[in-house]
């Protein structure tokens, strides 16, 4: 498939599915309540999906290959994770995470 066409197909398909998910219980199933098992399972979507996306990004270092002991991203991510856990602040997490990475890169 043509690359540009594939990209637009992804944009519209993912955009539509995202919008339908967002609209679901607000409008489409407004008269229905969430099935209990589905409600239970959905609680774990962010933890599972986002962790699955975080790890490969943190563990692979574009410069040093996959050397975990020489990868400052791991330590920076742990620091940022602790800050996020206690502060629940996006800005503080982003600030300390980037600062920690720059510091570790400068030291390493």
């Amino acid at each position: 498939m043509d690359a540009a066409l594939k990209l637009w197909a992804v944009i519209f398909a993912v955009g539509l599915l995202n919008y339908l998910s967002r609209l679901s219980f607000i409008a489409v199933f407004a008269r229905r309540s969430m099935p209990p098992l589905l409600g239970r399972a959905l609680k774990y979507v962010p933890a599972a999906m986002l962790t699955a996306m975080i790890l490969p990004m943190v563990l692979t270092d574009p410069v040093a290959g996959n050397a975990m002991n020489a990868n400052p991203k791991v330590a920076a991510a742990v620091i940022a994770g602790v800050v996020a856990f206690f502060s629940r602040s996006m800005l503080l997490t982003m600030g300390t995470g980037m600062a920690a990475l720059w510091l570790l890169q400068a030291l390493g």
């Binding site: 540009a4 519209f12 993912v14 599915l17 607000i26 599972a48 986002l50 996306m53 800005l91 980037m98």
Partner: protein, 267 residues
């Protein structure tokens, strides 16, 4: 080289048809915006989101850079940020496109990632019941992780559905504007950002800011750990299939831990 003139030209070319479309279909848009800006709830929501908007700037830039690197046209890059309007889904789609995954796999993986919106939607629904359908449709479009967290806090604090809805709209519009602008700047001017800044690290940091505060009960921790192990263990799968597999395995593990905990405490 900086494409400053291009940014201004494309911005003007995009914004003009959009605004004329708005006026064509909603002739009262101007007075609506004026009333909105006069609403203290709307302004409070907009201002409340500004710190999160600042935190999202590097993420938005990375998304724009990623779209450019994937060979997207500026219109397709704008389509990703304006239509998908979910950084996680945009990054995921970009990675999978680069990994050569077929359309169905990309859409399915992004759908699993977007399932969290079902949860947000169900949690938000009781507060939006009294609102006109147009408001519900607009607010649903602006439902994101950050806007949801801020809006649900406001709905719980004050029993005022209309004020809460305006506050939500303020949050959503602040994030939406910030997202389009940062994505476009990343697309056109991303090559100005030095690689030594490691700006791409902003993406896992944003996800960490969402995930880490959730890790306060056992089933959620189980879901995260199992998904984390699975994504690394299945790293050899082609077409980035390890992402959706790890997601589904993690969700299943969390749900089973939740059910087991219930059975345990009932005894």
């Amino acid at each position: 080289m900086w494409h400053g003139a291009e940014v201004v030209y494309h911005g003007a070319v995009t914004i003009f048809p959009l605004t004329s479309l708005v006026w064509r279909f909603c002739p009262d848009a101007g007075s609506f915006m004026r009333r909105l800006l006069a609403s203290s709830d709307f302004r409070a929501g907009f201002v409340e989101m500004l710190p999160a908007c600042v935190a999202l700037v590097p993420f938005g830039l990375v998304c724009g850079v990623g779209a450019a690197a994937a060979g997207a046209s500026w219109l397709a890059a704008l389509g990703m940020s304006a239509i998908i309007f979910s950084g996680a889904a945009q990054v995921l789609a970009g990675q999978m496109l680069a990994g050569g995954a077929p359309l169905a796999v990309i859409v399915l993986t992004c759908f699993v990632l977007g399932l969290r919106f079902l949860m947000y939607s169900a949690a938000m629904a009781p507060y939006l019941k009294a609102l006109p359908a147009r408001w519900q449709q607009a607010l649903a479009f602006l439902l994101t992780d950050q806007a949801f967290a801020a809006a649900i806090r406001r709905f719980n604090a004050k029993d005022d559905p209309h004020g809460g809805a305006q506050h939500f709209l303020g949050c959503g519009m602040a994030l939406y504007i910030c997202w389009q602008v940062t994505n476009m700047i990343g697309f056109f001017a991303g090559n100005l950002i030095p690689a030594s800044w490691s700006l791409e690290f902003a993406v896992p940091l944003c996800f960490l800011a969402l995930v880490a505060p959730l890790l306060r009960d056992a089933p959620t921790i189980v879901a995260a750990i199992v998904a984390g192990i699975a994504v690394v263990a299945l790293g050899g799968l082609p077409m980035k299939l390890n992402l959706i597999a790890a997601g589904v395995i993690g969700i299943t593990a969390g749900t089973m831990a939740d059910l087991a905990r219930d059975r345990w405490t009932r005894r």
